[in-house]
């Protein structure tokens, strides 16, 4: 059964990828590529292919990261955009621009990663002190925490007149993805693989420190690995694409609603579904006002918030009787 | 007199109160008893207009309550719910003074304040009158709310499980207060109680509900009686008479 769904998802992904490759302002056709039109080949290699790769990696890694966070925090509605991770990563990028030029991608990634990690850890610490830990309350605190960090970021950006460049990271878009400017995103591939290998351990760690230690798990280590994967993937996605809201929340939830909670089983599906979702949203964003392009953050923001509201009313209804 | 005719309340397709008709005479204490989900609180809520009804009529002293202005009704009937969670910080005296709202619309004159004084004294709350409600014990807080109701000075007083969360001493204390309000002030009191023995010892009449239907209405000796209780609670409860009170021994 599972294999069937994965198969269907892969076929869909291939078809849609094909479509994605041939959408754009400058004409690129299969004939043109085959006939060796150098201009078309150039566009194809420099812009179209990188864009597709970026879409697939970003969708996959953000969804998987969301799933891990939900396991670790044992809450269905925790994700990079509801735990301050995205906002911390953005703040990190802003701060890093004081120390590194825009070409020093590695340095900026490092700073952004550290910020995202610290931000997420603070959020987890806040949760320890929170009175309620129900399914509604935790994302609420996370969103608020994120918006406080967001206002620090805006404050600094205003102070140093960097609001313009901040806007680029705050609103995720694949329009700027060109070969030579997105390769950092490849980091998210190994982290996703590690996530898959550690999947069971994340589930156990989510059961709590005592429970998992009792089963012989190095709780702290697993927790730290989980948070590091989260922070790293988020940092590279924010740096190259920008913030994509609710992605890590919506995709894993929809997948688990349909396929259940077994992490090892749903993880590949979540990854595929994430890529598919972003791909569809991106194609829509490019076609709806052709030849102009609606940024991915907006499309996912609209679709994502509708799904999120649906999820809360469905799940929150009985989970939040306080 | 309070008269209820064919009163019905449905949640979804389930009738929580099902075609209940009932007359409660002026003066005295009437208790609503019945198992969980019998519709006691819903019935009380509808009589006090807190819960909208689906069908039926409610008359208080011959007037259908939907035809009376809410403001005027508030001078005739008052209601106290079991959960009185208040979000604002109020002192006992400030809370009690709200009981004058139907008369003063918020602008209390000297006479209104006299009512407040008297209600506070009546409930023996003088020493707490400037304490905040959240600084009081459960029993004291319940007394403060009763003082507010006294201050509202209505003929009919409806209480939804007033003994909830009170210990034995304070429960008995509240019941004694209610009795004195009936005897001294001529009030008519209707309350929902869980414990049949409280209903037995302190009521003049008892209304028994089950599955939204009224199944018995009568004096204490008619209701606190093994066969009637079996019908209400599906339990065999032997009755002992102790000091003139009928006590149901339902513990074994």
């Amino acid at each position: 059964m599972n294999k069937l769904y994965i198969g269907i998802a892969i076929v869909l992904l291939i078809i849609l990828s094909g479509i994605s490759l041939f959408i754009g302002v400058s004409t690129v056709t299969l004939d043109g590529l085959l006939s060796g039109d150098s201009k078309q080949l150039q566009t194809f290699m420099v812009s179209r292919i990188p864009r597709l790769i970026a879409i697939i990696i970003a969708g996959m890694s953000m969804s998987v990261v969301g799933l891990i966070m939900q396991q670790l925090a044992r809450n269905k509605f925790v994700s990079p955009s509801t735990a301050g991770t995205m906002e911390s990563a953005t703040l990190g990028i802003l701060i890093s621009s004081f120390f590194f030029s825009s070409t020093s991608v590695l340095g900026r990634t490092a700073v952004s990663f550290v910020f995202a990690l610290i931000g997420t850890m603070i959020f987890m610490k806040i949760l320890d002190y929170a009175k309620y830990k129900d399914v509604i309350f935790v994302p609420l605190v996370g969103i608020m925490f994120g918006s406080v960090i967001g206002s620090i970021t805006t404050f600094i950006a205003l102070r140093y007149d960097m609001l313009q460049s901040l806007g680029a990271w705050m609103a995720g878009s694949f329009a700027g993805i060109l070969s030579g400017r997105y390769e950092m995103l490849y980091i998210a591939v190994p982290t996703t693989i590690v996530a898959y290998l550690y999947a069971d351990r994340f589930t156990l760690a989510g059961m709590g420190e005592h429970f998992s230690t009792n089963l012989g798990l190095n709780y702290k280590q697993v927790m730290n690995i989980g948070l590091a994967i989260t922070a790293l993937s988020t940092a590279v996605v924010v740096l190259t694409v920008g913030v994509i809201p609710f992605l890590g929340l919506v995709v894993p939830n929809v997948v688990t609603i349909i396929f259940g909670d077994n992490l090892k089983r749903t993880l590949p599906l979540t990854a595929l579904a994430g890529s598919l979702f972003v791909l569809i949203c991106d194609i829509f964003g490019r076609l709806v006002r052709y030849p102009y392009e609606i940024p991915i953050s907006l499309v996912v923001g609209i679709v994502g918030s509708i799904i999120f509201i649906y999820l809360i009313t469905k799940r929150g209804a009985y989970a939040s009787k306080a | 007199m309070i008269e209820v005719r064919n009163l019905t309340k449905k949640y979804g397709s389930k009738a929580v109160v099902d075609n209940v008709s009932l007359k409660i005479a002026k003066g005295g204490i009437t208790s609503f008893i019945g198992p969980n989900g019998a519709g006691k609180s819903t019935l009380l809520g509808m009589i006090s207009r807190l819960i909208p009804r689906d069908a039926g009529e409610i008359y208080i002293d011959g007037q259908e309550i939907s035809k009376v202005k809410s403001k005027d009704l508030a001078k005739k009937i008052s209601v106290l719910k079991q959960e009185n969670h208040i979000n604002v910080r109020l002192t006992v005296r400030e809370l009690v003074s709200f009981g004058r709202f139907p008369y003063s619309q918020g602008r209390l004159n000297d006479e209104d304040w006299k009512f407040v004084d008297e209600a506070i004294d009546y409930m023996d709350l003088r020493e707490f009158e400037h304490r905040f409600l959240d600084q009081l014990s459960g029993g004291q807080r319940q007394r403060a709310f009763v003082a507010m109701v006294i201050c509202q000075n209505t003929d009919y007083i409806l209480l939804d499980e007033p003994l909830n969360n009170l210990d034995m001493k304070h429960s008995v204390q509240i019941m004694h207060v209610l009795r004195r309000m009936v005897n001294e002030l001529g009030k008519t009191i209707i309350l929902v109680v869980h414990d049949i023995n409280f209903a037995s010892c302190h009521s003049d009449s008892i209304v028994a509900l089950k599955d939204g239907k009224l199944i018995r209405h009568g004096s204490v000796s008619q209701i606190i009686e093994t066969s009637a209780l079996r019908e209400i609670y599906d339990m065999d409860i032997p009755i002992e008479v102790i000091n003139g009170n009928r006590i149901g021994v339902y513990f074994s």
Partner: protein, 350 residues
């Protein structure tokens, strides 16, 4: 109508029902926890401070009086309107929803305003935008807002047993949703002039849309007069729905009218200076903390004055003292966000 005390009851009430020897002294007792004199004194000091802030704001650093005064005067009028609107609407909203965390802007009312504004232009085409006067547009927006607010209220709040945190979360996501939708429609309408359009449509504290001040002032005054008719019900409504009904208040009618008033006030403040999410929360809660009373006749003026002090004083600090290029709404959102987080974690009761 005055109460005719029950003669019988009056006499016997003197003894306590619990049997203790209730003494009845004739000295007057203090009626309120905080006496009216103290409350008036507090209000007066807030008023003086607010006046000082405005005075300073009007005069500091002025070289060309003829040029500066009218310009700053307009800003001050806008500020006063916005402060009153936000403070009043937030306090009323918290009273009728019976909590101190929710505010109209936290559950996304002002993003609804922006959405409606965009939607109208979207549906009628941007040609109408030019033809229609800004005032006509504004009135249309307010009308839609009122309709929406009443509908939203009956959908969100009238269901029994709704959890407070559920409402906040839903409201915040709705806010994001409306925000994204607004930007989306603007982009679809005119991708080239997107930013131009955005500038023309939306205002901020630093960029008050002055052509709406007259109509806003009229609207605020009329709405306030209208609200005075049920202002006295606010105190008992803060005891909760059941108590309010018990005290003879037509609860749902008053609450519906409050929602209309709130919708108008939110429209005015959003139209004049754009959304400032956490400002109302701060103003209302500071006023509760400072006044320590439940009485709305003191709470509402206090919240208004505190807002004025915060905005005028804050603006003064930011613009003239620190000469920051920052916007005060960023600071408000930072402080307000922290405070909100604190309220949440403290577990402020529903």
């Amino acid at each position: 109508m005055q109460a005719k005390p029950n003669k019988e009851g009056h006499a016997t009430l003197k003894q306590t029902a619990l049997g203790s020897t209730g003494f009845v002294s004739e000295q007057p007792r203090q009626n309120y926890h905080v006496s009216p004199q103290v409350l008036w004194a507090k209000l007066l000091s807030l008023f003086l401070l607010a006046a000082l802030c405005i005075g300073l704001y009007m005069t500091i650093g002025v070289t060309d009086w003829g040029f500066a005064l009218p310009r700053r005067g307009i800003k001050v009028v806008a500020m006063l309107l916005v402060c009153f609107s936000i403070a009043y609407s937030t306090v009323i909203f918290q009273t009728v929803t019976n909590n101190r965390i929710l505010t109209p802007s936290i559950i996304g009312f002002d993003s609804v305003y922006l959405l409606i504004q965009t939607l109208i232009i979207f549906l009628f085409g941007s040609m109408t935008l030019i033809q229609m006067s800004k005032q006509t547009q504004f009135v249309m927006n307010v009308g839609c807002m009122v309709l929406f607010a009443v509908l939203l209220y009956s959908w969100l709040f009238k269901r029994e047993g709704r959890n407070l945190y559920f409402l906040i979360l839903i409201g915040m996501i709705f806010g994001t949703f409306f925000g994204s939708l607004t930007t989306f429609m603007q982009m679809v309408m005119d991708p080239n002039e997107f930013t131009v359009l955005q500038d023309r449509m939306f205002s901020s504290i630093n960029n008050v849309s002055s052509d709406l001040i007259n109509i806003s002032a009229v609207l605020v005054i009329l709405t306030t007069l209208y609200s005075l008719r049920f202002f006295k019900f606010l105190d008992p409504i803060s005891l909760g729905r059941d108590q309010a009904i018990n005290l003879g208040i037509d609860h749902s009618r008053v609450v519906n009218r409050c929602m209309v008033v709130i919708a108008i006030f939110v429209s005015v403040s959003t139209a004049l200076v754009g959304p400032i999410t956490f400002f109302g929360l701060l103003a209302a809660n500071l006023s509760y903390e400072f006044m320590r009373t439940y009485r709305h006749s003191f709470l509402v003026p206090a919240a208004t004055l505190i807002s004025i002090i915060a905005i005028a004083g804050g603006q003064l600090l930011v613009e003239r003292v620190f000469t920051f290029s920052t916007s005060i709404s960023v600071i408000v959102n930072f402080v307000g966000g922290l405070y909100f987080l604190f309220l949440l974690l403290k577990g402020a009761k529903a």
